[in-house]
Symmetry: C2
Subunit: 728 residues, 2 copies
């Protein structure tokens, strides 16, 4: 499988000089297995490493700097007599891991495997690349840095490796200097860089315009730390003027700060911007260590970009030996009515604040609106069981919700003690008797220490009562203050929870945690994340149509999202007094079960609302949640998206499409179907449907089709469509 197929150029003179940056000498070249991608590694006269990238002979990245600025060794502050603030000073000056390097060697490799994910958009994934490992040395070998490049047919991944054997075993990163110098002023789809939230709407503009559009989609969040007026998050999708589609993200974010990008708008150049610790330093590594992979996916079409599995391929293989307990989940939940305001997480309104172990809930007056009560949970279980669901999430089951958010309160929850009206044993028994599992809920209130203190007991409680999945949350500022949601300390925490959960055979769906980077390949019990603006924002003022037409390019590039689709009643005011409006048609909601891939799919609305539209609800009941194959039929980021998928278990095809605020008509060729005749059940917006003034108008037609046919669908503004196929 492995062969040395890469052209190595030890002598710079052998290559034509790079025109745009003449002082950078190409030193080695790497081509992708099919020869369409070419990455060049070079050095300038100062010993600074660079790389650049071409696809089909077109420039993707101009020479882009590599390396780090490192912190010097630290000493305690000398006492000063001028009232200086306390702190630690660097005893040694910072040093560069980005200049004065000599190349001490190259290694090449190639790799081709096909692996089978535990769950995913397809049952088999090919991982095929050529590799170049560059060894760099400076200061007579005191400082070492390796850079490992993997070039796939769909893009480039590279990571830094901090080898053992250098002067210091422990290094502190002051700044990552990695650049992504785009070859032209590409259109990009991005959200503002933030150390604490990913919950923004996307902006579509050219790189050169990021600065002027920075405030366009600004929105408050319970924890929010912007760092630059040109800072953006990954994964960022781009469409180059030269026609190529490019996406920058990272893969395998393990024990390292999450990477943002700061844009030099005039040069179309992004620079890595790591999330800092409380002192402003970026990360600590112990050699030998590796950074996450920095990824540059390249595609010839938007549809091709959606099919790229480069991020997953750069993650390590599955680390869990027995995966029999990991399974896709279609679930309902006592949640939407709380988010919307019809019921509450908290049990009582009697207290301005509560203290666990002090507040006596048994003696207090219930507020009468507590969602997680025995009767309501039983009703949800009944409905979920009757409609073939796997599970029911219940939020607000445990004591502490009376003052849980953003209070700088360490001990908010114990994750163990139910409210008086939630009989944990009886409800789990009842659920199990109906073939339903309850989904646990652990809101940490961003107090990770408190969560870790209770983790073993909390997971053990889940094991005792038969929960096998947990939704966790990190709302509000991280405690202790000064920490951020995406710095190394917290990245370490999220993975700790996933690995501890795996020991307990528990699947994790973490909200407000760091954006996924393909770690679900290694830890497939990470079946979901939020890490973007999800359906809940429909009750926080609404989401602009088109949002779900960009997420598969960006947020979903690293792993599935618990988007919580399926809202059938967009008029919140009518049933719960909320002033917001769900900006989607019913068919637009149905489409999401196909377009927003996740092994964990929620039908987020209430049983009552579904009961009013049983024919449309049928699609949610029918649609699969795990896939053999996926076809990305039509895509324009933030505008529209049509995807077809084949169920892993029985091979049944489903198709879905969403649009932005524009009405769109497409003719969908059905050439993905196998031979034979199929009954297609087509759920489309009614001709006069509209997300704002006629969202519940839809038609359901059954037609007989074959692979040679096309189906014409029209999506209303803010709408979509869904089709299920049944072999005849």
């Amino acid at each position: 499988m492995r062969a040395k197929t890469i052209l190595l150029l030890a002598c710079a003179a052998l290559l034509a000089a790079c025109n745009s940056v003449p002082r950078i000498s190409p030193e080695a070249e790497l081509t992708s297995p099919d020869g369409t991608m070419k990455m060049t590694f070079g050095m300038d006269h100062k010993g600074t490493p660079y790389y650049w990238l071409e696809c089909d002979g077109k420039d993707v990245l101009r020479p882009s700097r590599l390396g780090f600025e490192m912190r010097g060794a630290v000493k305690a502050t000398e006492i000063t007599y001028d009232g200086a603030q306390p702190g630690k000073e660097d005893a040694q000056p910072p040093f560069s891991l980005s200049e004065d390097f000599d190349i001490t060697g190259f290694e090449t490799d190639s790799f081709d495997e096909t692996w089978e994910p535990v769950w995913g958009e397809e049952s088999q994934i090919r991982n095929h690349y050529n590799e170049l490992l560059v060894h760099l040395s400076k200061d007579g070998g005191d400082r070492l840095l390796d850079i490992r490049f993997r070039l796939f047919d769909d893009g480039l991944g590279f990571r830094y490796e901090f080898p053992a054997g250098q002067k210091e075993s422990y290094l502190c990163i002051k700044e990552e200097l990695t650049e992504f110098a785009m070859a032209d002023d590409a259109v990009c789809w991005w959200i503002p860089g933030d150390y604490d939230t990913q919950e923004y709407e996307y902006t579509e503009c050219r790189i050169s315009e990021i600065g002027q559009h920075f405030r366009d989609k600004m929105r408050g969040n319970s924890s929010q730390t912007l760092f630059s007026h040109s800072g953006i998050q990954t994964s960022v999708q781009m469409h180059m003027q030269g026609g190529l589609w490019v996406n920058i993200h990272e893969a395998a974010l393990v024990d390292f700060p999450c990477m943002h990008l700061d844009a030099d708008c005039s040069n179309f150049t992004f620079r890595a911007w790591l999330t800092p610790d409380a002192q402003g330093y970026k990360g600590n590594v112990q050699t030998p260590a590796v950074s996450p992979w920095r990824t540059v996916q390249v595609a010839r079409s938007a549809e091709e970009q959606l099919a790229s599995r480069l991020v997953l391929n750069l993650n390590e293989p599955c680390a869990i030996e027995d995966v029999s307990w990991i399974h896709p989940v279609k679930y309902m939940g006592v949640w939407w009515e709380m988010i919307a305001g019809a019921s509450s997480w908290n049990y009582t309104d009697d207290f301005q604040s509560v203290k666990l172990g002090v507040t006596d809930y048994s003696a207090t007056k219930p507020n009468g609106r507590h969602g997680a009560n025995n009767q309501k949970v039983r009703d949800y279980i009944d409905f979920a069981a009757a409609n073939g669901f796997d599970a029911v999430l219940v939020e607000g089951w445990n004591i502490g919700w009376e003052d849980w958010a953003n209070c700088d309160k360490d001990y908010v929850f114990d994750f163990l003690t139910p409210y008086p009206d939630f009989d944990i044993e009886a409800l789990n028994n009842y659920a199990h008797s109906k073939g339903i599992r309850l989904v646990m809920h652990h809101e940490t209130s961003s107090s990770p220490r408190n969560y870790e203190r209770h983790l073993e007991a909390a997971y053990s409680l889940m094991n005792r009562y038969g929960y096998d999945a947990v939704k966790s949350g990190y709302v509000g500022d991280i405690l202790p203050q000064g920490m951020y949601h995406y710095n190394q300390w917290m990245v370490n925490h999220y993975l700790y929870c996933i690995t501890e959960a795996a020991r307990h055979h528990i699947m994790v769906n973490a909200h407000e945690a760091v954006r996924p980077t393909g770690l679900c390949r290694t830890w497939p019990n990470l079946i979901g994340n939020e890490s973007a603006m999800g359906t809940e924002y429909q009750v926080f003022g609404g989401i602009t149509p088109g949002h779900t037409a960009i997420l598969p390019f960006t947020r979903l590039n690293g792993g599935p999202m618990d988007y919580t689709p399926g809202i059938f009643e967009p008029n919140l005011k009518e049933w719960c007094g909320n002033d917001s409006w769900v900006n989607s048609t019913i068919c637009g909601q149905l489409a999401l079960y196909v377009t927003m891939y996740s092994p964990l799919q929620m039908a987020a609305d209430t049983p009552e609302h579904y009961s009013r539209f049983p024919d449309a609800f049928q699609f949610i009941k029918d649609v699969a949640v795990d896939w053999q194959e996926s076809r990305y039929l039509l895509a324009d980021p933030m505008h529209y998206l049509v995807i077809a998928r084949k169920a892993k278990d029985d091979g049944q095809w489903f198709c879905g499409g969403v649009t932005d605020g524009e009405k769109r008509t497409f003719s969908i060729p059905l050439n993905f179907l196998e031979e034979g005749r199929f009954e297609a059940t087509v759920y489309t917006d009614a001709p006069d449907a509209h997300f704002r003034n006629n969202p519940q108008a839809y038609n359901i037609n059954k037609v007989e089709v074959s692979a040679a046919d096309s189906i014409e669908v029209t999506m209303a503004p803010g709408g979509g469509f869904a089709i299920s196929f049944k072999a005849l």
Copy 2:
């Protein structure tokens, strides 16, 4: 027991105006049970609360401000276009809890109880005080603050109480404004204020001279964060020009930052200086909440100060129901030879750095100097058992020591896995067969998260093998960076470990943890702390004689210290090549078992060294570690100290004395003895003994004495004496 005995003055006019600060009106007065102490509470015209204190009609504290500056409510940073750093801004301006107050009420109480500590310097402690609770309100009741004063015959304690029912349930402290305005330019004994270490030598100077002496005893530490050139630590001992002895400290430090003091040298006024979080804020409270007690002990002599139990009395009663498993411990340890350099904590020198779970110790080459090896531990067990000890500490038993300190490394230890040459099961079995317990060692390397992640498993391991005590350590900078050893987050951590240990029936001796504040009353499984410069500094360049003559006034005011005395071989160079010298005579070391009270006493030197001086070692074998009664016979801080104590179990008396660099002769009246005749075994420095050039010269005399007698002892420079009494 309770009676309202306090004179309350609702009308300021009833009292003579306070001369020195005429605009402060006295509002209420509190006297101690015996009437010798008088505390006055007053307000100025701005509604700022003050208190002042007199003893025997002499001013102790002039009017001193009370209250806090609070942080306003917080919002996320608005994005700025000028490159401003990220962070959180205060949405609301800071507000004062120190002005514009109205007094809304006074409550008074008195209390008298005698309680029995699980272990201590005496078997019964009287807790007798009069109390004044002041209710303050501002902004129409939106802001409330209560101040509770307890006046004892030996001083004042007061704490702030943040009542429920005010506008905000969660408050963030920006600054504590509490003042201690000394009535004159007292001599004080102090160490520099530092957020990360308490390991300094003391300076003796007037308050007005603190600034100019600030660097006198400066010394590096593995973690050190000074904050002001006039900042000092508590407990600080003072001797006023008016003759009174005054000590400022705090009691019951629970879920609050540790208090330092910043001196206004020209006004002889100390102001509270709390240890901050990573953002510079001081602490967070959820109402109802209380601060620790601020304590002002007052005595008419240095000896009386040593007898004060005010700090213990201000702590809550014992929280552990069954204390049968808590017991005093006299122990030896595989430790001094490592500190001195004769053997090592680490097992191998093969690696520049190690990774737990990656480094294969079984395949590595031992360095041949590893202290915690099976044979050596057995030798220590044999020696300890033969000489009547209870326990043997073994440091360096667990993997990870090759690169443990100050590496910004999170996962340094697992607290579970022994080195290949330490058979944990066999060694514990062997120890138990000889009546010895091993003492566990948990160096956390200041990575509290890693420690907490392993705490349950680590304590369970101790239970499994029969360990009932752990020495823990916090060397190096706290992780995550930005945290400090003494801020609220870490104070919470230390107590968490103590309470978790109590669940496991484990006694804790925490080194480098926050200085004790009497919490051992509530949690008597906290049998020791370091929290000051201990014997280890004798191998780090030596300790100035006199250090142990100040510690009982200051460091020991809050609880016992694991000082690790008993060094018989001061010449380190000879046996382990260390250039340092132990600045003490053998008799000076023996004295510490009496003068440095601790329920946990180590004989820190090696079996070999003790074997060379069996007659002197006899005192260490004989001396008790728990007491019925203690008598403070002679004391001059940093100069000399003579204490007699009566063993709790058999009533046997012991006496010990230490001196500084001066030779001193005292005649010790034996009037503490009961009726009858006693054989006194007197261990004294030889006439020509000297800590530097003749430290091992001593005489042992047996004399028959009675309570009517005196014994004359001469202490060599850096020396001391010890006497054991046996009833005839």
